[in-house]
């Protein structure tokens, strides 16, 4: 602190009046939310009691959000089974999407015009049609190809046959193929953005060491591109988690399909939607944590010092507050 003499100058920070109004508004809103979510309201169901010959009736107190029903179904076997299928769909189709996306991105950047053209067309087609249409298409592919054979056109040469496509190709597989192919198109653009973001000097340096195009891609370019690729990919995984609910339209009972099946029988639509939402939120939370650490790993070397993990930050904050209290009576801060 600049004392310019003997007496230290007292600094009065700027008062932010507007912020206090803002905080009050938010607090009011949060209070309303807590009130409506957690407090019971009287329902149309009457409960009557007879005391000393006088009959009094009042509405039964229930949670507006029917947490009792939410709790009842939260870990029911149908819901858990649906959750497993949702996770399975997300993981498998994301893996297909990422591998395909990388491949298509590299093809797109190839000096070979045919490969680049094929990659462009793929992306154009699968991004250009709704994913719901694609899911329905693959689920009913058996209608188009009752029997499938891969061979050379106009000849009888066939490499392999699939008989009764609608039997051998299950709905689960169909949805995975649909989501994976669709995701590949989006992932290819994300991967391409990552590959482009790597400085050309890195490729030149790899080349000058005698690395082939493939080696420099694998060892130098892709690891650095990951830093740019991961945040949008995390976005895609979370998006995929929820897009997979479209599988319910082709009678695949993933999480959303499972809860709508239950609510179709007991008409408890809202509590079951809450059940599904909580599960989606839980999985998203886990995925976000995973993304944070993955990002940290691939940022190595890009930053002089990596950002602290939430746990490290928490420790630092606690230490900071603690040291503030400790120095409160003494002279705060560092003397000049």
């Amino acid at each position: 602190m600049d004392t310019n003499g003997d007496v230290a100058v007292k600094v009065v920070p700027v008062r932010h009046v507007g912020r206090w109004f803002g905080i009050a508004g938010v607090a009011l809103f949060v209070a309303m939310l807590i009130h409506t979510m957690l407090f019971k309201v009287s329902s149309s169901t009457k409960i009557c009691t007879v005391a000393r010959g006088v009959r009094t009736c009042h509405g039964a107190l229930v949670w507006r959000f029917q947490w009792d029903i939410v709790g009842q179904y939260f870990t029911s076997s149908e819901v858990l089974h649906g959750l497993v299928i949702t996770i399975e769909l997300t993981v498998v189709s994301m893996i297909i999407g990422i591998v395909l996306g990388m491949l298509v991105a590299v093809m797109r950047m190839s000096p070979n015009r045919v490969l680049a053209g094929v990659a462009w067309t793929y992306t154009w087609f699968f991004r250009g049609t709704p994913v719901l249409v694609q899911i329905t298409f693959w689920a009913f592919i058996g209608a188009l190809y009752p029997h499938l054979s891969f061979g050379i056109p106009f000849t009888h040469v066939a490499f392999f046959h699939v008989r009764n496509v609608n039997v051998t190709f299950t709905t689960l597989e169909a949805v995975i193929v649909a989501l994976g192919l669709n995701e590949g198109a989006y992932m290819s653009e994300i991967a391409r953005a990552g590959l482009i973001s790597v400085d050309e000097g890195q490729i030149e340096a790899a080349t000058s060491l005698g690395m082939t195009r493939r080696q420099s891609l694998r060892l130098i370019v892709i690891p650095q591109a990951m830093r740019v690729i991961i945040p949008p990919t995390g976005n895609e995984v979370i998006s995929m988690l929820k897009t997979s609910s479209l599988a319910s339209t082709v009678a695949l009972l993933e999480l959303f399909g499972a809860v709508s099946n239950i609510s179709a029988q007991n008409f408890e639509i809202m509590p079951l939607l809450i059940v599904a939402s909580i599960w989606y939120l839980l999985v998203t939370t886990v995925l976000s944590i995973g993304q944070f650490y993955l990002e940290r790993y691939f940022a190595r070397g890009a930053l002089r010092s990596p950002p602290p993990t939430p746990i490290q930050r928490l420790k630092r904050d606690i230490w900071g507050v603690a040291s503030k209290f400790r120095t409160k009576r003494g002279v705060p801060g560092v003397s000049a």
């Binding site: 400085d199 000097g201 890195q202 030149e204 340096a205 790899a206 080349t207 000058s208 060491l209 005698g210 690395m211 082939t212 195009r213 080696q215 060892l219 130098i220 690891p223 650095q224 691939f298 190595r300 070397g301 890009a302 930053l303 002089r304």
Partner: protein
């Protein structure tokens, strides 16, 4: 060691090299000087085939660069063979181009293990030796972003040397450095020259050229205007354009 005969190179209709001749003998240091856009860097990049020359002949160690002469025709070499040949030519860039995601040690070992298929432990030993030679053995666990420009460029030199090149190319190695860091890089290069390495250096450091170079070539507008002994070329230039250039940089 390097024979350049009538090399031409154009980028989209603009001719950058208009027939360049140059000879570099083994264990000699050659400096290329000239104004920016004169084709110095392009010429250097043609030597290890980072750029394909359009016409003329370019030989390193007696072998054509990027091509093979058979039955009176030139056959383009496959990517793999070009890479194999390139691995014997080290290159140092203006902007260092260290691999940002690898530690200093990994930067110096990756070429050895991936291109020359040297055993990882042996590669590490050699890398440490070279890092010690450029005075950076204490920094092996650092990432490039944690080093100063001069330190990065010294690591880049170590990375190139790890491939045991027979020729080293330097593309304005000190142009991106703060003035006080230029000396440490030039010192490493001087040591290298003393050890008998064949070097081609594109540079604006006239002091270095005068002290270390065996031959200096002055390029302007894609042709070699003047060449010869550095003492003569840099102190008593005959060409009018070199006189003007030197009056600006000295």
């Amino acid at each position: 060691m390097v024979e350049v005969r009538g090399v031409h190179k154009s980028y989209g209709g603009i001719e950058v090299l208009k027939g360049v001749d140059l000879t570099v003998n083994r264990s000699e240091v050659t400096c290329l000087i000239g104004p920016s856009g004169s084709g110095k860097s392009t010429l250097l990049r043609c030597v290890n085939h980072l750029e394909k020359h359009d016409a003329g002949e370019l030989r390193v160690d007696g072998e054509l660069v990027g091509y093979e002469a058979k039955n009176g025709k030139l056959y383009e070499l496959t990517d793999k063979r070009v890479c194999e040949k390139r691995s014997h030519i080290g290159m140092v860039f203006q902007r260092f181009n260290l691999f940002q995601h690898l530690t200093v040690l990994d930067n110096v070992t990756i070429g050895q293990t991936q291109v020359k298929h040297v055993d990882r432990e042996k590669a590490k030993v050699k890398a440490r030796e070279l890092l010690a030679r450029v005075g950076l053995d204490a920094k092996e666990k650092h990432y490039p972003a944690q080093l100063s420009g001069g330190q990065q460029q010294r690591v880049a030199i170590a990375r190139a040397l790890a491939m045991e090149p027979k020729l080293m190319l330097f593309d304005e190695p000190t142009s991106a450095l703060d003035p006080e860091l230029v000396g440490e890089v030039l010192d490493v290069m001087k040591d290298l020259a003393k050890s008998g390495m064949t070097m081609i250096v594109v540079t604006h450091e006239m002091g270095f050229a005068r002290e270390v170079a065996d031959t200096v070539y002055f390029l302007d507008g894609g042709v070699i205007e003047e060449s010869g002994d550095p003492q003569k070329v840099l102190t008593a230039p005959t060409s009018e354009r070199l006189k003007i250039f030197l009056s600006k940089v000295l």
